[in-house]
Structure formats: C-alpha cells, structure tokens
C-alpha cells in the first residue's frame, strides 16, 4: 500500500488543501490590494455575518428547507416511479423514453413557469429543486433495477414472494449502488435548483439575499451567502456519502 493511501494521510491532505485555498485567497486580496467590493478578504466575508439586518439564520433555514425538501421528494418519487416501471413493461416503454426527453429540458427554464403556477416562495423553489433532482435519481434507479438478474426474481417468485418482498429484499438493495450514484448527482443539482428559484422570485433565502445585497455592492455578504450555500450542499452530499457507507458494501459501490 502506498503511504498516501492511509485515511489519516488523505484527511490531512484534504484539510491542508482547504486551508491553502483560504490562505491564497487572503494573500491575493492583501498583497494585490484588491478593493473590497471586488473581492473581500476572508475576514471581511466572516464579518458580514455580524450584520443583523441580513437575517442569516432565517435565510439559511429557508434555503436548506427548499434544498432538503425538494431532494427528499425527488428521492421518494424517483425510486417509486422506477419501481413501478419494473411492474409494467408497457408503462416503462411508454414513460422511460419520455422521461429521457423531459430530462433534456433545462429545468432552470421552467423557473418562470413554476412562478406562474405556484406564485413565489418556499414551495415553488422546492419544486425547482425537485424537478432538477428527480431525473438522475429516477434514471439511475431504473437502470439499477434493470441490472438485477431475472433468475433472481424468478427464485423469489417461485416461492410466491410478494412484490413488496421482491422490492425490499432483492430490488432495492440490488439497485442501491446505482441509486446512490444518482443521489450524488442530484444533491448538487438540488442546490442549484433551489438557488435559481430564489433568484427568479422569492422573498427569503440565501439566493434572495444575494440579489438584495448586490444592489448595495455588499460583496462580503454575497461571498458569505455563497459560502453558506456551499456548506448546505456539502452537508447534503456528506449525508448521502455517509448513508452509502452504511448501506452499500464497499465492493458494490459505483465510483
């Protein structure tokens, strides 16, 4: 084993890279004498949190709700639809090509429509996150379910196993590596969906806040908002990774 492959060394490297980025950012701003409204220093960015007018905590909660809500809905709907397709070949042949086409729609372009349909606020932004996150989950799950050996399903059917048993004992665990690969892609997309929704129309959230402070050229606050959005995304991604680690055997994980 190469010495760089031990977990301890890899974690150290990862932390060092992040610290290095912040240091480079600091030096660039300080040495380059970059004006604050173009690029604030790390210190100035952190100080933006002290401004009570920005309602950071409320905005974090709103954006996180949209991201996590849309994401969870996408997970449930995506997996359920893919499962239903395994029950009916006709339904699958009808819907799957359609979904591939629908997946090509830039979901961001639906934003103005979603606002027409659902007004503005947390719900339409959750729908934005959902609409953009559901496809990768649905398509990878459908793929994973198709990969399961038909003979294995026959084995359970020969024992007169129910659909529910088939799903919980064979299909779901068998498709999990695929589901997780879709979930990781969806985690990144859900964040983008929610923020675009907030840009288009909302009165709360970190994306909304960015538009507000842009007017006054409060770049440190904009930076802070980006950092917080990233942290929410990392939290979601981290949870997905943790779940995968717990649920999927190492040799079965898809990279």
């Amino acid at each position: 084993m190469n010495s760089i492959d031990t977990p301890y060394v890899r974690w150290t490297f990862a932390v060092l890279a992040h610290i290095g980025l912040v240091v480079a950012w600091y030096l660039f701003v300080e040495i380059g004498q970059v004006p604050k409204f173009v690029m604030p220093s790390p210190q100035a960015t952190l100080n933006a949190l002290l401004n009570p007018d920005y309602g950071w905590w409320t905005n974090i909660r709103v954006t996180a709700t949209e991201i996590f809500g849309g994401y969870l809905l996408a997970l449930v709907v995506g997996v359920m639809l893919a499962l239903i397709f395994t029950w009916s070949r006709i339904l699958e042949s009808l819907c799957l090509p359609l979904l591939v086409t629908l997946n090509m729609i830039p979901k961001v372009a639906l934003g103005p429509l979603i606002i027409v349909w659902f007004k503005y606020g947390v719900f339409p932004n959750t729908m934005m996150a959902f609409s953009i996150a559901v496809f990768p989950i649905l398509l990878t799950t459908a793929r994973g379910l198709r990969e399961i050996e038909p003979d294995l399903l026959d084995l359970v059917r020969s024992l007169r196993g129910s659909r529910w048993q088939l799903f919980t004992k064979i299909q779901l665990p068998g498709a999990l590596p695929y589901i997780f690969s879709g979930m990781k892609v969806a985690a990144i997309l859900a964040v983008a969906g929610a923020i675009v929704g907030e840009f288009l129309g909302s009165d709360k959230g970190l994306g909304y806040l960015m538009l507000q402070v842009q007017v006054t050229l409060d770049t440190p606050a904009m930076f802070m908002a980006v950092v917080l959005i990233t942290l929410i995304g990392m939290l979601l991604y981290g949870l997905v990774m943790l779940l995968e680690r717990l649920l999927v055997a190492r040799d079965a994980r898809l990279s």
């Binding site: 050996e149 084995l155 059917r157 048993q165 068998g174």
Partner: protein, 255 residues
C-alpha cells in the same frame, strides 16, 4: 415403496409469442418422475430445457397437455416444495453466506431461529462450514454454487430444479461438484431435476435421462440409467456408461 409418480407430464406444449411470431419451445413432452429420482434433462441449447423447469416451478404456464405434481401419498405444495439452482449462483452480494441461505425462509415467513440453525447444517452438508459469515465475493465460483444449493434446500422442498448449475465452472471443479451433488442427493433424499447439455454429466448423475432435441423442440428419449450407486468417477470407464452416452449422442445427431 411408493409407486405413484411424483410428477406426471403428458403431452406438454409451450409456445412463446412475440408479437405475431410464434416460437414452439416444447412440442410434446411426456415423462414421469418418481419420488427421490435424479432426472437429467439433456439436450442442445435452445431445446426448451429451461422452459420445462420454468413450467415445473410454476413460473410459466403451459399451453397444452397436463402437468400433475404430487400425489395423494406424496402431496406437493407449489409455493414451498420447489428449490431452484441456476447456472449463476445468484447470491445476494450484500448479504453474508448464512443470510443468503436463509432467504427462502424470509420469503415464506418461516421461524428464523430454526431457519438459521438449518442453514448451518446445510452449509455443513455442502462443505461450507466456517464460511457462514463470509461475503459471496470472498468465495470461489464452486463454493458460491454450493451455497446456492444450500439455499435451495433450506425450506426442505420435495423437488429441486437445477438449470445447468455447474455450467459456469471449470472442468475439474465440475467433476468434483458432480460427486458432491450425488452425495447431497443421497443424504437429503430430494427429487432432483437436473438440466444440462453435458451428455456424460447426464449419464453420470441421472437415475433417468430425458433427451430433448432442438428445432422443432421435442422429447426424443427417456430411459433409466442402470448404473450402480454410489457412483464414482471409475464408472465413466465402464462399457455400459459408453453405451448410454453413445445412445444420447446418436439421438442428438452427433454420430
């Protein structure tokens, strides 16, 4: 001594339809299987051997003729009297070996403590003691197939259907597994129907051989193998062994 057949097939027909095209998978299969027999179904690829097994397992309906399973003195419950072994071991790779073997008990809702106890005994029977807590990927192909056989026996089915179970193994492992199967068959007293395209394997294992030919799929012959038990590899050098195999080669048009 039980004289009533366990399985009685009379003029069984099976047609697969894809759109307007019809494919005759089995034209006319008639044979009996006595309780405790090991019947080898031999024939070239695409002769409907696997289809016959699917009909016997109750997974596919037949289109003509009669299939009678069980008799008043030897009752048969289709949901729990069939065990299946396929060409691939089809173990659930996220489960340990013991948890794989108890799968039929989970599907049938049998008491789990007793099932685990029985799974340990069966793993000992197939020569896998000590591998209970291992994962499938840690086992060789032959060992995985042994575990699959243990799984097929778990719910104590009267009938075990084997679809080319050793077809994916190397020649030496295959010989070894043949001897193992004969031992397991003797010790468990199961009725086994064993599909193979290995002519010598069919004669070596079978108390009876049913020969199927392809295009049009039909039953060509059905005869008892009058070779002594327990069978050892030396039997293959006997003159009557050669006569049996030549009889099959001739039927399959290879002589």
């Amino acid at each position: 001594m039980n004289v009533e057949p366990f399985i009685r097939m009379r003029g069984v027909r099976k047609v697969y339809r894809t759109g307007s095209r019809e494919h005759l998978a089995i034209s006319d299969a008639s044979f009996d299987v006595m309780p405790g027999e090991l019947v080898a179904l031999v024939g070239p690829s695409g002769c409907g051997k696997s289809t016959l097994l699917k009909i016997l397992s109750g997974l596919h309906p037949h289109d003509g003729g009669a299939v009678q399973m069980g008799s008043p003195s030897y009752p048969f419950d289709p949901s729990r009297d069939v065990g299946m072994v396929f060409q691939q071991p089809l173990l659930l790779k996220w489960r340990r070996i013991l948890d794989n073997v108890v799968l039929p008990a989970e599907i049938l809702g049998l008491p789990m403590a007793a099932a685990r106890e029985r799974a340990r005994d069966l793993l000992a029977l197939v020569g896998l003691s000590g591998s209970e807590a291992r994962f499938p990927y840690e086992l060789s192909g032959g060992m995985q197939q042994r575990a699959a056989i243990a799984r097929a026996l778990l719910h104590d089915p009267k009938l075990v259907l084997m679809d080319e179970p050793f077809g994916a193994l190397d020649a030496l492992t295959r010989e070894k597994m043949n001897l193992e199967l004969l031992r397991i068959w003797k010790e468990s007293g199961k009725t086994i129907i064993f599909v193979t395209h290995g002519i010598s394997e069919a004669v070596f294992l079978g108390t009876r051989v049913v020969v199927l030919t392809a295009g049009p799929a039909r039953m060509a012959d059905n005869f008892e193998i009058d070779l002594p038990h327990p069978r050892i590899l030396d039997i293959k050098t006997r003159e009557d062994f050669g006569l049996y195999t030549r009889r099959i080669y001739r039927l399959l048009g290879m002589e």
